[in-house]
Amino acid sequence: MTEAFRDRIDIALTVNGEPVEARVPAGRHLVDFLRLDLGLTGAHAGCEHGVCGACTIQVDGQAVRGCLMLAAQADGAEVWTLEGLTEQGVIRDLQDAFVARNALQCGYCTPGMLASIKELLDMGGVPDRATIREHLSGNYCRCTGYEAIIDAVETVAQARAGRITA
């Protein structure tokens, strides 16, 4: 192998606010790194080709597919998973609304849903149902039929805008 290429890469990043240093195989994607190396099993590995959205996490403030980013590419990044977001309490209202509306059954899609929804809600305003649907078009749920999820997002957006008390 050429000197410049490595099959194991040293990375330093923060995960859920904690500094992490590791040596990762070149082909290791970020979700496997989080789940298998760090034991953070919140983000799920479903299809592993970008279709299902179960692996969606927050990297440098944006929602990304954890299965379509290499751990090696996360060097220097700020990564948040459901565990950290929950601990920080930043999506407490959304999580409560999910429970209240029955917006999850098996829960497989939920961590990815929440990461995608967080990005939408962080944009501010009250998105209409079509916008919510469109934003979640890349997150598959095989249980709920989506309506309850849209309801939950709409409720939280309205509550955050001060339109209703959740």
């Binding site: 192998m1 050429t2 410049a4 290429f5 490595r6 099959d7 890469i9 195989p25 070149a26 082909g27 290791r28 994607h29 496997d32 592993e48 080709h49 970008g50 959205g53 969606t56 944006q62 929602a63 990304v64 597919r65 299965c67 379509l68 980013m69 290499l70 090696a72 590419q73 060097d75 995608s116 990005e119 939408l120 649907r133 469109e134 934003h135 078009s137 890349g138 997150n139």
Partner: protein
């Protein structure tokens, strides 16, 4: 499944990336947004790649107006194309395209250069650049060269990019007064690749029409363009249906795609003139 990469290196700048590609002995593979490449690696459609990660080369990112053209850096992400004011002014076609490309989380990392280099026949950006008459800029060990969009797309996933070269930017003509752009497509679900789609550009000099997902690469529908310039909408629909040779697959039959392309052209023309169907 799990990806098998041969190795990974992060390029500091374009010169470094070119050195890395040259050192990789034919196994080098540019990694930009990774939204197609890492998916292919996970499915083991691509194994043993020596990955040259260009995603942190800042010089390849961003949009400027330079020398009478709109210049879009290869690493400009889909999400940024969708919100950039210069793109909105000069290439609204690309903004329309962004809404059809994949999903928000994928648009946050996917790049326009990656989309053109990947050359999926169903992708929106290649067809846009073709309809707009854009130019693709490449840099390799022997220097830089510019390739017209008409000559860039060769076949399914195949472009004019030579071994060891990197796509650095796309340039597009600045918009002229009264110029109109319409992108229209049909997909089964929001964010899916299109079953068929069209990019229609109307300029003082005439119409330009490209079609995607109806052949091995985006095509410029020259016969239909000629009919449109003559003001013959029905003739254009017929000409378009005649000049495409769409594939049949699990998503749609060739006959359905051909029919759809004509329907889409009728709708695009209504859009252009502001009439409703």
């Amino acid at each position: 499944m799990k990806a098998l990469a041969g190795g990974y290196a992060r390029a500091k700048d374009v010169a470094h990336a070119l050195d890395l590609l040259a050192a990789a002995d034919g196994m080098g593979r540019v990694l930009a947004g990774g939204q197609s490449l890492i998916a292919a690696m996970n499915m083991r459609l691509s194994t043993g790649d020596m990955l040259v990660d260009i995603s942190r080369i800042e010089a390849l990112r961003g949009v400027t107006v330079e020398g009478g053209t709109l210049r879009i850096g290869a690493l400009t992400r889909h999400v940024d194309i969708g919100t950039d004011p210069l793109v909105a002014e000069h290439a609204p076609l690309l903004v329309q395209a962004v809404h059809h490309i994949a999903h928000a989380a994928i648009r946050n990392r996917g790049t326009i250069g990656g989309s053109l280099a990947h050359a999926d026949p169903a992708a929106e950006f290649p067809a846009c650049v073709l309809a707009l008459g854009g130019t693709i800029h490449l840099q390799g060990p022997d220097g830089m060269r510019a390739v017209a969009a008409e000559d860039f797309f060769v076949d399914v996933f195949e472009t004019a990019i030579a071994e060891g070269e990197i796509l650095t930017a796309i340039t597009l003509p600045l918009i002229e007064p009264g110029e109109r752009h319409v992108l229209i497509e049909t997909a089964r679900r929001s964010g899916d690749y299109a079953l068929a789609g069209l990019c229609l550009v109307k300029r003082a000099a005439g119409h330009r029409l490209s079609a995607f997902s109806v052949g091995p690469r985006p095509i410029l529908a020259v016969a239909a363009m000629e009919r449109l310039d003559a003001g013959d909408a029905a003739g254009a629909v017929q000409a378009l249906r005649n000049e495409i040779d769409p594939p049949s697959d699990t998503q749609a039959s060739a006959a359905y795609r051909r029919h759809l392309a004509g329907v889409l052209l009728t709708r695009a023309l209504q859009d252009l003139t502001g009439e409703t169907a």
